[in-house]
């Protein structure tokens, strides 16, 4: 009963999400697209932070590099072919991950956080200080890529609804892939490494290879999120690689809850909606200008009252209910 409910729930949710733009206004469609892209981005980081225990504060590098790559690789006034533009952009992100990961994974803990941050800052300055991608002002991607073989156009995502569906498909693919991955032996080994790496080495796992692979996979999906973001707006800027961006996605993962994939998704939804609400003059009137204050206070309150993130909330409530019932019976 319970499980059949669960198995039905997922397709139903997906279908509802897919049909949502029929009823929502343009703006909210765009907002959902943004949420989906950030969910994808957060999912990719969850693989590192929540599943492998590698806290990276430089994940924006992959996001940004791939966003730049798709922009630079597309012809200026025609649409690039997805068939190679997207893989190429992702490969750029992965290539950067292989190089920086091999170096960064030699360090641990706080140092790992800082080294990843460093490498992201390096990439940031490359785009900010050189002419490569239009310098600090950024560059435009005029035409969205399309999927074609020869002259035969299979998929064109110019239309906002097709782009919506395309993003949803990417998100579902990522989610499915990562879920499968975490259930597999590879995922089990990552879990082990998360808890006690030394033990895993003693058991016969070459942990470095595992971590590097996880790092590169995370980079690939982070890159996917980045290129979708670039395609969505048609504009890329060095700030896509800024550490604030890494911080934001890390916040999503922590706020949602670590270790579970859907924690990242919930976190992304939660954080973006929070920002949206606090910035809205319709709700907060002229105080919306001070939305950083309300947003900051909200974050503090969330940390204080939800130590396990949003996904830990049901458990927390259950524990509280149990406690109150047990104390009631004790009396």
């Amino acid at each position: 009963m319970q499980s059949s409910f669960r198995t039905l729930l997922v397709p139903v949710l997906v279908i509802i999400t897919a049909l949502l733009p029929m009823v929502t206004a343009d703006y909210y469609t765009a907002l959902i697209i943004k949420i989906m892209i950030y969910s994808l981005f957060a999912l990719s980081l969850q693989l590192l932070v929540g599943c492998t225990g590698l806290v990276s504060l430089g994940h924006s590098a992959f996001f940004g590099i791939s966003a730049y790559a798709v922009t630079l690789l597309s012809p200026e006034y025609a649409s690039g072919n997805m068939l190679w533009v997207i893989p190429a952009a992702i490969v750029c992100a992965m290539a950067y991950a292989v190089i920086t990961g091999a170096l960064a994974l030699r360090t641990k803990g706080i140092y790992f956080i800082m080294v990843t941050l460093t490498f992201a800052q390096m990439a940031y300055y490359v785009f900010h200080d050189t002419k490569l991608g239009g310098g600090s002002d950024g560059i435009y991607l005029y035409v969205r890529p399309e999927l074609r073989i020869g002259d035969w156009v299979i998929l064109n995502i110019d239309n906002s609804y097709t782009f919506y569906l395309f993003t949803l498909a990417c998100l579902l693919f990522t989610w499915g892939f990562l879920a499968m991955l975490m259930r597999s032996r590879f995922g089990a080994a990552l879990t082990g490494i998360h808890v006690n790496e030394q033990r895993m080495r003693a058991a016969g796992f070459s942990t470095f290879g595992y971590k590097l692979t996880a790092y590169v996979i995370a980079a690939a999906f982070g890159g996917l999120a980045g290129l979708l973001y670039a395609v969505k707006d048609g504009y890329v800027n060095p700030e896509l690689l800024a550490w604030e961006q890494s911080g934001l996605v890390l916040l999503m993962v922590i706020l949602g809850g670590m270790g579970r994939l859907w924690g990242a998704v919930i976190g992304a939804i939660g954080l973006i909606l929070l920002q949206e609400v606090f910035q809205s003059e319709a709700i907060f009137g002229s105080f919306a200008i001070h939305w950083h204050l309300t947003f900051g206070l909200a974050i503090i309150a969330l940390v204080a009252f939800m130590p396990k993130g949003l996904i830990g909330l049901p458990e927390q409530l259950r524990a509280r209910r149990n406690r109150s019932t047990s104390s009631a019976t004790a009396k």
């Binding site: 943004k34 310098g135 600090s136 950024g138 707006d233 961006q245």
Partner: protein, 363 residues
Amino acid sequence: EVKVGFMLPYSGTFAQLGEAIENGFKLYVQEQGGKLAGQEITYFRVDDESNPSKGPDNANRLIKRDQVDILVGTVHSGVAMALAKAATDSDTTLIIPNAGAGAITGPLCSKNVFRSSFSNWQPGYAMGAAAAEKGHKTAVTISWNYAAGKESTDGFKESFEKAGGKVVKHLTLPFPQVEFQPLLTEIAATKPDVVYTFFAGGGAVKFVQDYAAAGLRKDIELVGAGFLTDGTLKAQGESAQGLLTTLHYADGLNTERDNAFRENYKKNFPKLPPDVYAVQGYDAAQMLDAGLKAVGGDVAKKDQMRDAIRNATIDSPRGKFTLSKSGNPVQDMYLREVKGEDNVPVKVAVKALADPSVGCKMN
């Protein structure tokens, strides 16, 4: 009813400028009795945080959520790029009240995008001419390593070298670092006749102070784009006295138009000075007014309205200006000198200076 959307920085380094622009805009509308061309104006605001990566989303808040007719924004060049893209994609009219990125009225120019301020190139070019005229032969330029700085110093170099001078060194430091001492030492070692700088906000304050503290003022003249001393004079204090800068506005132009504006502004916003940002906001409203009048307040007639703006002559507090085909003001650039807490005009450095708008297909 006409919906105007402000996408301006309300937090962070540029918050003050955002406020001034909004004030200026509202002042003009208020002077017209709260209506432009008979239309009630309603305002929407979004804080752009001066963060280009959030630019497209913030722009969409105004364009798609609030469905504004006119966009006004912003200060930061990168954000303005994002805004221009979003405005062009959705065919919304955009008036940029500050950001000077050359590309927006250059290669990326578009029929729906206007600027009530300047291009980064303009003050630089004006100062190059003025510095050469003062007899300087060698110059060093210094700015943050970012696009605006490069455009501005390029403008300086162009006119300075055209007049026979030589820019011997172009110094940069990473944005937004403010440790200038090594570069000041480098300047002291180079000993040029003049130093041209492009800094704004906190960086401008610190640079001017450090430059004076390093004792360079007595031997090497410091000049800059106007932002060096606009809105920063109180903080710079003594060290800014006598600095020469170029900009399209100055304190105490002493024209009837300007005096009226300043008085009215002070009355309405006693806490803030009537500075160049307020003027830019004010003129953005004037440009909109010109457009709306031409279509009798019907914002749906976009093309007609835009043509009217493009052909208008704006009676700005800074003096009358027109717009180039690419939408950038063709305006007088003033050479100003810092006296007390004012940038008082010395003379017009270049009359009716138009941005070359290289790469714009509308030229």
